[in-house]
């Protein structure tokens, strides 16, 4: 009797395992099939491919946007961000010193002062971590005079695991080795980077002291000290995607007499902006709608767009190698003001 029951149980176990094994192969084939669709050579097919990909990518790479603002800008800049690029965030939060529920503005309790920007940013990051830290993959910081092309941002972020300690932006060099990301151009950190800041940096006065230094530099210092790696956001041709200046400075034949080449981490490329650009800074109030119109509304008839395939997701080993490479990278900019210590 017991031997019979034993045989039955053994058979069940073996059967389940075998079916699971066969099912695994089936799933693998499905994944390969999906991949092959995205690799179709036919140009016309890729038209549908990119359209589907962009919609799918919106939910696959979820970005929470934190926009720093102040009360006097609620009815001007906040409305414009909300009506233009902010609509394409998965979640949009405005950080200010006065609440406005209708506009999605929260009060983090820090009085408006140039010297308080860093403290304000810390409060914002604490708020976001407490309320949304596990609901999104990436967390973008922008100013209310930044314009962000969210689709191109997702295009950049997709290959990377949000559980890696990583952040992107326009990289500046400074007195500590990793440098920092320009605040005005916007920077985006992974879920793990946000977690590390809140769990290990903010409560450690050595890793992340509270002071009056500039927000972006200090956040960069804190991130470095908890092992968050500064990623390279440039495109395949080495052109910057995050622009800390107004767009007009990136256009050809205009003077490059500005502070940027002396501060940037990588050797400046003497060309026009990236075709997959992500952000511009110093956006005037009327320029939000202008960019929205020229980038999203105005269509060009008949011109076939050069289609881009989504870059592949990095496996654990590849990702680790990339992170190690970035972590050990030194500045290539020979024009820098500051010498690296």
């Amino acid at each position: 009797m017991y031997r019979n029951i034993l045989c039955l149980v053994l058979g069940l176990i073996i059967g389940i395992q075998l079916t699971d094994f066969l099912e695994y192969f089936q799933l693998t084939d499905s994944q390969f099939a999906s991949t092959s669709i995205t690799q179709l050579e036919e140009g016309a097919s890729q038209l549908a491919t990119e359209e589907e990909l962009a919609l799918w990518l919106h939910n696959e790479t979820r970005v929470l946007c934190m926009v720093l603002t102040l009360p006097k800008n609620h009815q001007s800049r906040v409305r414009r961000v909300k009506g233009t690029w902010g609509r394409r965030c998965n979640k949009l939060i405005f950080i200010s010193s006065q609440e406005d529920r209708e506009l999605g503005v929260i009060d983090v309790g820090v009085p408006e002062d140039r010297n308080n920007l860093y403290l304000k940013m810390r409060k914002a990051l604490e708020y976001v971590y407490r309320n949304h830290g596990e609901d999104y993959d990436w967390f973008l910081k922008a100013d209310d005079d930044t314009f962000v092309i969210m689709e191109n941002l997702r295009f950049l972020l997709y290959p990377y695991d949000p559980e890696a300690a990583l952040y992107f932006g326009h990289r500046f060099r400074t007195t500590f080795p990793q440098g920092y990301m320009s605040g005005g151009a916007g920077y985006v950190m992974s879920r793990d980077a946000l977690r590390r800041l809140n769990l290990f940096a903010f409560n450690n006065s050595q890793f992340c002291p509270i002071n009056n230094n500039s927000e972006d530099r200090q956040i960069g210092f804190c991130l470095q000290n908890v092992g968050v790696v500064a990623g390279d956001s440039r495109d395949e041709e080495g052109r910057d995607r995050f622009l800390p200046l107004s767009l007009k400075f990136m256009l050809p034949t205009f003077p490059t007499d500005n502070w940027l080449p002396k501060l940037t981490f990588y050797e400046p490329v003497n060309e026009t902006g990236s075709t997959s650009g992500i952000s511009f800074h110093y956006v005037k109030i009327h320029e939000f709608e202008m960019y929205e119109y020229l980038l999203y509304r105005l269509h060009i008839f008949g011109t076939p767009l050069s289609q881009r395939t989504l870059p592949p997701r990095l496996g654990p080993d590849e990702l680790q190698n990339q992170l190690n490479q970035w972590a050990q990278e030194n500045s290539t900019n020979s024009n820098a003001w500051l010498k690296q210590e």
Binding site: C7, G11, G15, E50, E151, L247, H299, G302, T303, L305
Partner: protein
Amino acid sequence: MTAKMKLRSQLHLLTGFMAGFVLAFVLLLYVYDVSRVTPCWSSTSTMTTATTARIEDGPPPRILCMVLTCPENVQSLARSVYETWGQRCSRLIFASSEDYEPLGVVGVVEPTGGGYEDLWNKTREGFRHVWEHYAGDYDWFLKADDDTYVVMENLQHLLRGFDPNTPVFFGYKMSRYNVSYMSGGASYILSREALHRFATQAYESEVICPQPKKMGIEDFYMGICMQNVGVHFVDSTHALDGDTKPKFMPLDLENYMSDANYTIPEWLRLMSLSRVETGLACCSNYSVAFHYASRERMFLYEFLIYHLKVFDPNQISERGHRSRLTLSDLTRRFPLEDNSNIKDLLQMSEKPDNF
């Protein structure tokens, strides 16, 4: 007995196998269905897209671009046009008061002239020059200022719907002293037939077309000449089925994008035929021309429209097919203007200022 025991054991084992398979299959099938959140890319939609993409129109309209400039602007604004949208014209000509071969600048008026006061003369002589040299080689003739930016692909799409052998005058239609005309700064387009009528009937007739003079109101005068030689005025606002927004913008895009009313000058509101909107509702998604473009603004347009790509579904290029309007269709949709007040300039009862 031993044999029977073995057989029963094997039977139980086999039963166990089968039950295990069924159970696992049901469980995994359920899990698999739940996990299929990622959309599949349908080959059906792919085929549909492929079919749509293969529709081809005839050859694109050949558009000669005549851009009015002056010697002081040749190295700045004219060069910007040459380096940006001018490259996409079938042919680009600059009309000025002095030749400058490297950019294709032709002197069509006296060297002492060429400023804003000579705008009408430059336009007249420019069109005459173009007619004498190129009338047989092109379908459409665009007149723009050196501070206009033109999206040539959208213009070509617009013009596909019209026959260049019919008399057509294209642009942002306005009205002044109850006389229709097309905004000069927003640019306007003459069909081959319209150009022919201008050059052979209007150019030398002081009765139906204002003669050369200083401070002539160029676009208003051209409107008079076009009406008096029986050319149909096609307001670009209504030239594309299903789209009722302006496509030729007499102001800089910046003026339209501000939602403050003060950015739209009173003269534009007064002389426009329909309400001038601001914000994202201002302009057609298939706009053609923007005025008051500085050199910086032209490069900005070039970068944002042609260079910077958004990885976004709405950026799929449009390949709409447009059938051509016959002359009778043209007459029905865009009837000839009432030129009773201006058909004899010498006998006009009420002359506008500076006429």
